[in-house]
């Protein structure tokens, strides 16, 4: 059974692509067959974060329009052969993404035996974001501890509960998970930033992971390697916990309180 997971947020720039890349890679590290799709038509990004930008020949829209087969367009990850990337199109025509086209690609991935399809949603609540969530079984709602991000996440939760195929077919609800990212426990302690408790109280969905604000994220995107592959990075470890929890393992939250850090761990990126 293929599970379709959308990574969504409403607000832009909160960490959806960063999360999609690490989440998909983490699942692949655990032996799952994974495809990660960039739904951000016109603003391709995931390929850079996954470090495969030079190997993009065909994209999502090419497949939908029948200009390439799915197999031709899927890019095999350089480290994990069971991880595949489908790049977004650079076309400016957002209409190129059609519900029928998206459904066909997802069905083909199903028959290819993929365990997980991770859909990296664009910002906003327009066509691309709608199609990224429409077919989903589960949702990672990426949120920053900041007012506009939390409000947008709540709007997205409203859409997940009304504008998806599961709702239309009266099937069991999409399983929603909170991913609180760019979290800074020191600022929370000072009363300058919403705490994890504040955010979960408002959004009322279970938390899957808390990712700290981390210099390692920029370093990893510079290099084109998802941060989860850096075992010494705090954000990488937090994403690793998140993936394990998603698969049902019990892992306590880390990086949610202020820790006294040695020089060494500071230097590694905290």
């Amino acid at each position: 059974m293929t599970k379709i997971v959308v990574v969504t947020s409403g607000k832009g720039g909160v960490g959806k692509t960063t999360t999609s890349a690490s989440f998909a890679t983490g699942l692949a590290q655990r032996g799952k067959k994974v495809a990660v799709i960039d739904f951000d038509v016109g603003l391709r990004n995931l390929d850079l974060i996954m470090g495969c930008e030079r190997r993009v020949v065909f994209d999502f829209v090419n497949v939908i329009q029948g200009e390439a087969s799915l197999r031709q367009a899927l890019i095999k990850d350089k480290t994990f052969p069971n991880l595949h990337i489908l790049a977004a199109s650079q076309t400016r025509d957002k209409e190129a993404l059609t519900p029928e086209g998206v459904e066909k690609v997802l069905n083909d991935l199903r028959s290819e035996g993929f365990d997980y399809v991770v859909c990296d949603s664009p910002a906003g609540i327009e066509r691309g974001a709608h199609l990224a969530m429409y077919f989903a079984d589960e949702a990672l709602v990426v949120t920053n501890p900041e007012v506009s991000s939390v409000r947008d996440s709540d709007r997205v939760l409203g859409l997940l509960a009304s504008k998806t195929r599961r709702v239309e077919r009266n099937e069991a609800r999409i399983k929603e998970h909170l991913v609180l990212t760019r979290y800074n426990p020191a600022r929370v302690l000072k009363g300058e930033m919403l705490s994890l408790e504040d955010v979960t109280e408002i959004l009322a969905i279970p938390v899957l992971g808390v990712i700290p604000e981390s210099t390692a994220v920029l370093n990893s995107s510079n290099a084109g390697t998802p941060v989860i592959t850096l075992p010494d990075a705090d954000a990488g470890q937090a994403y690793d916990d998140l993936v394990s929890r998603f698969l049902g393992e019990d892992r306590p939250l880390r990086f949610t309180t202020v820790e006294k850090k040695g020089l060494f761990s500071k230097w590694l990126g905290g």
Partner: protein, 89 residues
């Protein structure tokens, strides 16, 4: 505007997070009005009915369909159970 902002920080030096939370509660409550997800128990009800039906008939996951209808101000639960096609011999 800038003055108000300064005043705010003088009287309440630390609790901007609390203020954020209170403002969000109001905004989110407003946003949720009229979202109308139907009764909370609907998915569970559907699932349980599906399980009961499956005791007797082999039906797919999508066989049970429940909808909330509003008829003359009265809320009505409309339920459809699609049975698999039967051949008559």
């Amino acid at each position: 505007m800038a003055l108000d902002w300064l005043k705010f920080f003088r009287t309440e030096p630390k609790n901007t997070a609390n203020l954020a939370k209170e403002r969000l509660k109001v905004v989110v409550a407003h946003q949720r009005e009229g979202r109308g997800r139907g009764p909370e128990y609907l998915p569970k009800l559907r699932e349980e009915i599906l399980n009961v039906v499956r005791k007797y008939v082999d039906v797919p996951e999508t066989a049970v369909n429940i909808q909330v209808q509003n008829e003359d101000g009265l809320e009505v639960l409309e339920m459809n159970i699609a049975l698999p096609e039967q051949r008559r011999s």
